[in-house]
Symmetry: C2
Subunit: 772 residues, 2 copies
């Protein structure tokens, strides 16, 4: 048995692929799914295909979110189910978020075991006390669409792969008369006692199980259906109901339902299936999901994996990854290649497919809907992903982004609030974070001319969303021009983000010739001015009587009127009008000094230690790259007379915050937003204000890159003389002609062409002297 190790993976020699355009290059080998699995990256190492419904991945612990109504702080580490430092694996479950800062999922955990049947998972320090197993990273390998690990306690080699809607397991057993496969229907991520509101299971025959699981978690009302097929018949099976008190059993009590009884249901179930195995015998499982029904799950299985060839599924999964990864073919140093393609991998994990092969899915109203002419997606981490991920999709995945917007509009149609998604997953609005950032996603596509959705209908949805008075302080914002801190917390962040979202609405209205809406929302877009305190020079919480909140510490992230950020950071959040903001804050020079301070000052732990999404790893000075509100800030130098500092800072951030190691991410990847930041910045441009067609120029971190656009054209980037030292742009040419501005436009990219950066070790302070 050959076992890949992390080391091997990272030592693959660097090759240049720019030349190899005739066939899809093998880029999968640069992806290391283990990156971000240590510390707070919140990525998972398991098997999935691009934007796939199934994320089949090991869970190293399943500690509860709450115990006796009290929050369990340690759970935060397990947002993606896996922590690199752990020594045991509980099992392999089928759904995982990538990089999120709150969590859910972990459905249908499977654990293969040998020896005495144990239905409890056991504890991390005593894995032998349950079905879980010790494991070693040296016996572990993770690739796109493939994961394997040796389960030491049971002497089982576990291999996982997946198609879009079906996870495939391959377990190589030792010789055993007591081989078990456990299906834990209670297990989950961000679990708590009572989270599983119901499970229903049928043993259809000796190789097929169907059922569903309903949970009440981050998604309040969620049902996932499954069909589970074994490659070999089990010879016996059973289950145990762990409910404390089974109040009412009715006439089912006439059966012994715990053994070889084909139908069980309840709130806390674990099932097992028993086999006798020969040495080296492989038992495979196909585990299909559906948001609609067990019938749907079975149809998904039959459509996607009609055979038992594990290698074929892996091969097709990796081919799908190569196809997506090759949308950008780069030449760079070896670490940068791993960073780049792992970022591409993480960026293409979500939003995830949320419909059966026949296009049916469960909607927000819990009714079954038909996706008519589009792929329905779910898991929109919009507070994060509107910033760079969806803009990235507008270049690399315009067709999918179009379908994502159609999915958002379907959400809107189904929403009883008549609101676009805020943070939605599995037919649920979970209301996470603030703002209504479906709007910039839609505006970015509209302004860039991307997609065939009805733009006017989409604008109406944006407007309706932005007028939902009962939503998160909006009534005050609409009436007073700001959210008063005494009425609704995190008031400054909300005011600032609403203002930007409103600008996006105005931009769309302008393009679509809807003057009333343009007027209304252009005015609302200036609301950021209402929370700027000229005296302190910071955005500052204002009370409903119009006075500033007196107690105010612009460094503190706790209860100061900001969410997951302090005023130092959030005060720079006017992405739609940096020039005006800079003027308001004292002009270019003073502003550049302010920015300098941000990157160089020290932010003591006490100012963020209770803010879960901010950790020391993600901080440079007082610049919090590990969390989103700061992501556009390094680019703001472009609006001052010192754009070369943008180049310097972004290169520095790329180095500091992205490393090709398991603990290489400076914070939660946030469903690809951190990775999208990497990809843009490494390529040399970044969308400071989605909804505008401009990208702020910075210093490329690659030697060259070719973007293979869906329209068949290519846009190439060459960074001549680029190195770790040569981070300053000396001059720039677009299609051979000099460019002396700090931005590229979307059109310039999308119609194809080439941008050439000439790099040097010292800033060319004359270049870009005139800000946009």
């Amino acid at each position: 048995m050959r076992v890949f190790t992390l080391t091997v993976l990272l030592l693959i020699p660097c090759l240049t692929f720019a030349q190899k355009k005739s066939s899809t290059p093998d880029l999968v080998r640069y992806v290391n799914p283990m990156i971000g699995t240590a510390k707070m990256g919140h990525t998972y190492p398991g098997a999935t295909v691009p934007f796939g419904m199934v994320q089949l991945s090991p869970d190293t612990d399943t500690i509860p979110y709450e115990v006796n109504g009290k929050y369990n702080k340690d759970v935060y580490k397990y947002c993606a189910g896996y922590q690199y430092d752990d020594n045991t694996i509980v099992g392999f479950s089928h759904t995982h978020f990538s990089g999120t800062g709150h969590s859910d999922l972990g459905d249908f955990l499977i654990a293969p075991t040998t020896g005495k049947l144990q239905l409890n998972p056991g504890t991390a320090d005593k894995p032998e006390s349950g079905y879980r197993s010790a494991f070693s990273h040296k016996n572990e390998a993770a690739e796109p669409a493939y994961y394997k690990v040796k389960l030491d306690d049971h002497n089982i080699l576990a291999e996982l792969t997946a198609s879009n809607r079906v996870g495939m397991h391959q377990y190589t057993f030792p010789k055993s008369d007591e081989a078990h496969i456990i299906l834990d229907l209670m297990s989950g991520i961000y679990n708590y006692d009572g989270k599983t509101t119901w499970t229903f299971v049928r043993v259809e025959n000796d190789t097929l199980i169907t059922g569903y699981r309903q949970t009440n978690g981050w998604a309040r009302t969620r049902t996932v259906y499954f069909a589970m097929a074994f490659s070999k018949p089990f010879h016996q099976y059973g289950n145990k109901d762990y409910s404390e008190a089974q109040v009412y059993k009715g006439f089912w009590r006439k059966f012994d339902q715990t053994k070889n009884f084909p139908e069980f249901a309840g709130k806390k179930l674990r099932a097992y299936f028993d086999f006798k195995t020969e040495e080296g015998e492989k038992i495979k499982i196909k585990f299909a999901l559906s948001p609609v029904s067990t019938e749907g799950a079975l149809a998904n299985m039959k459509a996607e994996i009609p055979h038992w060839d594990f290698e074929q599924v892996k091969r097709e999964g990796q081919a799908a990854w190569n196809k997506e990864l090759s949308k950008v073919v780069v030449d760079a140093g070896k670490d940068d290649l791993v960073n780049f393609y792992t970022a591409m991998y993480h960026a293409f994990l979500g939003p995830t497919t949320y419909m059966d092969v026949d296009g049916r899915y469960r909607g927000l109203d819990m009714n079954v809907h038909q996706a008519d002419g589009f792929t329905n997606y779910t898991s929109f981490s919009l507070w994060d992903t509107y910033r760079a991920l969806h803009p990235l999709f507008n270049i690399l995945q315009p067709a999918r982004n179009n379908d994502m917007i159609k999915s958002m509009l379907a959400h809107y149609d189904q929403s009883v609030h008549k609101m676009l998604p805020v943070w939605s997953h599995y037919a649920n609005e979970n209301w996470c974070m603030i703002g209504y950032h479906s709007v910039p996603v839609i505006a970015d596509a509209v302004m860039k001319g991307n997609g065939n959705f009805d733009a006017n209908r989409a604008l109406d949805a944006c407007v309706q969303t932005a007028r939902t008075r009962y939503y998160d302080g909006l009534e005050y914002y609409m009436d007073m021009g700001y959210v008063p801190e005494d009425k609704n917390g995190s008031s400054v962040s909300k005011t600032l983000e609403y203002a930007y979202d409103d600008w996006c609405i105005a931009q769309m209205a302008g393009k679509l010739n809807r003057p009333d809406i343009y007027e209304e929302f252009s005015k609302r877009a200036e609301s950021y001015k209402n929370v700027y305190d000229a005296k302190s020079g910071f955005m500052r919480p204002k009370l409903s009587d119009g006075t500033w909140k007196q107690e105010f510490d612009p460094l503190d992230t706790h209860g100061q009127g900001f969410i997951e950020g302090n005023s130092w950071n959030y005060s720079l959040y006017v992405p739609h009008d940096p020039a005006q903001m800079i003027a308001m804050m004292g002009g270019k020079t003073r502003f550049a000094q302010h920015l300098d301070s941000l990157f160089t000052m020290e932010l003591p732990d006490k100012y963020f230690e209770n803010t879960e999404d901010i950790s020391r790893e993600g901080i440079i000075g007082n610049y919090v790259h590990g969390n989103e509100p700061s992501h556009h800030m390094p680019f703001l130098y472009n609006w001052t007379d010192q754009p070369w500092k943008t180049q310097e800072r972004t290169r520095m951030v790329l180095k500091a915050m992205y490393k090709p190691t398991v603990d290489g991410l400076g914070g939660n990847d946030d469903f690809g937003q951190m990775s999208a930041w990497y990809i843009f910045s490494a390529l040399g441009f970044y969308p400071v204000a989605p909804g505008s067609d401009q990208y702020a120029i910075t210093s490329p971190a690659i030697r060259s890159a070719t973007i293979n656009l869906e329209n068949g054209k290519t846009f190439s980037i060459e960074a001549k003389n680029q190195s770790d030292k040569n981070v300053y742009v000396q001059k720039m040419e677009l299609n051979g002609k000099p460019v002396n501005r700090t931005y590229l436009t979307h059109d310039e990219i999308i119609k194809g062409g080439k941008i050439t950066f000439y790099m040097g070790s010292k800033p060319n302070k004359k270049l870009f002297a005139i800000a946009p």
Copy 2:
């Protein structure tokens, strides 16, 4: 306001309808839905249409089935939600079983109130402590498809009517600034803490609510969807979640969800909708159900009640009842008319429609299925209804019975056990009672040539069901010819009922020319002999070693090897071969004496006081008419030399067990079985062994009757000189020709004709001298 009283209803003068064949006669006026609502009839007085999905009826109490895991004996009274002796009404819920001896349902209780909002139901002794109200029977009226009552505490007149899938409420309010309509989503029949596993509600707009409720009760996994429309917009609304600990609230905590927030979900919810009303203002509600989705419920509402005309819905509902009731037009004394048509009403309450207007329904596998060319029914109380109700349907409702069998076959197709229904409701097998009595229902239809289902496929389903080894002692029965009491309780009842069901299979196999099956099941059908103890002269529990269980009291119903019956009664249960049974038990004379003893001996309370389904009211001697195992016994005299005693006994039972009063039923109506017994017996014949084409002759209790058959023909019954004293058949003519046998055949009825009974006050002991 005119208030019907029970007295008025019962004093309607008797009319003869036999002549009025040109138009549908008004038979609704003879139906008194209050009959059986006192004591243990377990009927409900509310509004429903024939075989309707909605049973909108008042619940006078909602006490729990279990408290702290302990059974609450008092709940048994509330199987149908209503007890006549109660003085308060909690509210009006939309689903009720009629006459069952165990229960469930009571979904979506609505209570209109005035004054201070109270979301708790309050207590029966202090109705003012909650939303419930005192009421008086003098302000109450119940008719088919119509119910009304004055809610004294709130000065509201409540009126209810229904279409098949939609309940319609009409509440006449006083002038009030605080008028409320409460929707209690926690309330239910046979409720317990935790029974409601989830509820989901959307306030779509100010007149429309949608949602669903999931329960874990007698139906283990059950979801009912609803759409609720108000005739007038509410001006505010809200809800309260009564969960003890709301462990995880997620980001929903950013909202005050308790007031004017349009989406709520949880395990214990009550909602309210507020109005301001003028004196005498009517607020109407249309409340549609669906087994599929809220979309389905809304479509049902639009299809069935597209308007707000309460009187029209009531009129159409009563017209539907008159159509069904007029399938038998009888001339009889006034009490007998009320008894007869109330029995017809009760017989046509179920099984109930279980599909949307588009034919979709949720199946046993929890997937949505399409009923292709048939109406899908649910709530099959088969241990009861195979005896006389389905045979009655084979005469009066052959089309529906055909669809019911198709529904059973769909159940079989969806069953993971590959079993036909035992006792099923709402896409659930609840496993209540014993046997596999779908079989006689199917056999009766096959043998009588009724229905267009695939008889061979149906036979296969029966065979497969009867071979399910893990079902309730079947493995022993199959291997040993009897169920050993030490292996599986109620062993004798099971052996006897399996034997009869097996005979039904053999009959079908014979007709369908399937000799292997015929042989196998003919042999199994004789298994009753294996539990007959010739020494004691009783059926008796046998142990797995082949010896009789020593402790044995043939009078006791508790733990003697019988279910809901004692050996005295169950020993007479060989419906498929009374002649052989009689021979086995010592011959005709001795058997007739045995039967005489049954009716004349005394059964002390101690022998049945712990058997819920048996009460003093339902007992004559040791004959337990109030429960089903005895129902065929009065007819067994027909197999002796004293058939006139059948005539005497059935007339006596009719008088004793069926009275036109609220406490008029001698036991649970059992979803129409008790009523079907009444109808058959009153007409003068009874199906002792469904699956045979014969009906045992007895003494008609009506003066004349015309059965309007679905084939367009009529079968008439005339009982000349019949009176309470003239209960003995002197002679009998079929189509004018003398008949001297104790049975009629199905063909004789179904091809139309007339049977004339000549009645007298003394037995004609020469008639029927030769038993069949």
